[in-house]
Amino acid sequence: MLDFSYTRARSAEEARAAAGEPAARLLAGGTTLLDLAKCGVERPDTVIDISHLDGLSDILVDGTGASIGALAKMSAVADRADIRHAFPAVSQSLSLAASQQLRNMATIGGNLLQRTRCPYFRDPATFPDCNKRNPGSGCAALGGVTRNQAILGTSDHCIATYHGDLAVALVAFDATVRTDRREVPIDAFFLTPDDRPEQETVLDKGEMITGLTIPATVAARQSTYLKVRDRQSYEFAAASAAIGLDLEADGVTIRDLRVALGGVATKPWRARTVEAALIGKPVRPEIIAEASRLAVEGAVSHGGNHYKIELAPRVVARAILTVAAHLNPDLNPALGETA
C-alpha cells in the first residue's frame, strides 16, 4: 500500500478544507478507501479521518420521512425498527449487503460512494487500461470477462456496474443527498459513464456528503428489496430490485409503484417505464411479467452478462408480486405460480 500521511479532523470545517487538496481523501469507515489503496487504485497522499466527528451519525424518523447522518453505520440504520417499518426495502438493502463486520464499519455516506467491483478497474498492475482510473486509456473490460458488467447505462468507454444496494432503494423512493453545499435528488447525484467514466457523481472536489433524506410514502412503507446472487450471502447482486407498491381500495389495481434495479447498470437504475406501464393496471402475473421487461429497454449485452437481460425483469416481477401478495393475501392463489 502506498505511503500517506494521516490527519484526524477535529471539525467538519477542518475536514472540508483539507479535502480540497488534490490527493487528499476523506476516511470514514475505510472499507472502500483502504481496500482500493491496497489494490493500487486509490493513491492518496493525505488521509483525513472523519470517523471521530460528532453530530453526523444521527438517524431521525418521523411522519415526513427519515434523515440519516452521513457517518451513521450501515448496521445501525439497518437494525432500526422505525426504518424497518417505514422503509423496509432500505433496511433490507443494507442487511443483505456485505457482512456484519463491514456493515459495522461502513458509513451511509461512504456506501453511496463505493466504487465498482469491475475486476479490471481493481487491478491496475495487470490492466493499465481503464478509463475510470486513467481517462483516455481504454477499457479492458470490453472484450474481457463480462459476467458482472453492466447491461444498462454503459458507453463505449466504460461498462462497469455500480454494485451498491442501498442506493438502489434510495433511488426508488426519491431520496435526497445532502452535502455541505446543497441538496441533490439521488437520481441526479449519480452519473452514467458516457465519455467521462471517471466522474461517478456530481460531487465537486472537497464537497462532503453530510446526510440523506428519504420522504415517507405509502410505497416506501410497502416495499421490498430482492437480491439475486451467485451465493446466498455475502455477495454482490447478479440482479436486484427495490420495489414499492400501493394498491387501490379494490386490492387489485396498482395505485403507485416504484421500481429500481441494482447489479445491472452503471448507476442505481430507476425503471420509470415499468412504473408508468403498470399504474392503473391490475396485479396479474402475466401483466406484471410483460411490463417488467421494459426494465431492460435499451440493454446492451457484452456476452458474459447476457443472462442479466433475462434475469433482471424476472427479479422485478417477482418482487412486485411478493409485495402485492403481502398487501392482499387474497391475491396469493392467483399469483401462486410465479410469486
Binding site: 500500500m1 472499507t31 457482512s99 456484519q100 463486520q101 464499519m105
Partner: protein, 159 residues
C-alpha cells in the same frame, strides 16, 4: 517522506505505545507491533474475516482499519476474551467441544465474530447464524460444526 507516528492503543484493557507509519493497519499493528499474533491475516482485503476483532464492542475487520483510526477506542482481540484467571470464554469452549475447526487459521476470527453475533441476538435459528457469520470464511469447510458451536454458546448465554 516516511515518518512514523506515536500511537497509544487500548488493547484488551492494556495500553500499548507504538510507533508506526500512518498507513499501518490495526491488523499489522496488533501482530507486528503489539506482539498479539492471535488475530490472523488471511486475505488482507476485507473478504475473509480472519482478522475480525472488536472496536468499542462491535466486530470489525482490522485489515481495513488504520491503527491510527483506532486510537481512543477500546480494542478487543482473541487474546482478551478469556477470563482473568485463564478460564476460556464460553464460545472458545463450544468451538473445542464441537471440533469447529480443522487447520484453525480462521478460528480466532470466527470466535470474535461469534461472540459479537451472540451479543447482537442474531442466533435465533441456524439460518440466521449462517447469515450473520457469513463474513467469516473457513476454507476447511467446518461450517456445520461452527454453526453448532455458535448455537450452543448462544443457548448457554441465554440460560
Amino acid at each position: 517522506m516516511t515518518r512514523t507516528i506515536r500511537l497509544s492503543l487500548d488493547i484488551n484493557e492494556r495500553r500499548y505505545e507504538i510507533d508506526v507509519e500512518p498507513r499501518v493497519t490495526l491488523l499489522d499493528a496488533l501482530r507486528d507491533h503489539a506482539g498479539l499474533s492471535g488475530t490472523k491475516k488471511g486475505c488482507d482485503q476485507g473478504q475473509c474475516g480472519a482478522c475480525t476483532c472488536h472496536i468499542d464492542g462491535q466486530r470489525v475487520l482490522s485489515c481495513l482499519t488504520l491503527a491510527a483510526q483506532a486510537e481512543g477506542r477500546k480494542i478487543t482481540t482473541i487474546e482478551g476474551i478469556a477470563a482473568a484467571n485463564g478460564d476460556l470464554h464460553p464460545v472458545q469452549l463450544a468451538f473445542i467441544e464441537h471440533d469447529a475447526f480443522q487447520c484453525g487459521y480462521c478460528t480466532p476470527g470466527q470466535i470474535m465474530s461469534a461472540v459479537a453475533c451472540i451479543r447482537e441476538g442474531r442466533t435465533g435459528s441456524d439460518e440466521e447464524i449462517r447469515e450473520y457469520m457469513s463474513g467469516n470464511l473457513c476454507r476447511c469447510g467446518a461450517y456445520n460444526s461452527i454453526v453448532a458451536a455458535v448455537r450452543e454458546a448462544a443457548e448457554m448465554a441465554d440460560a
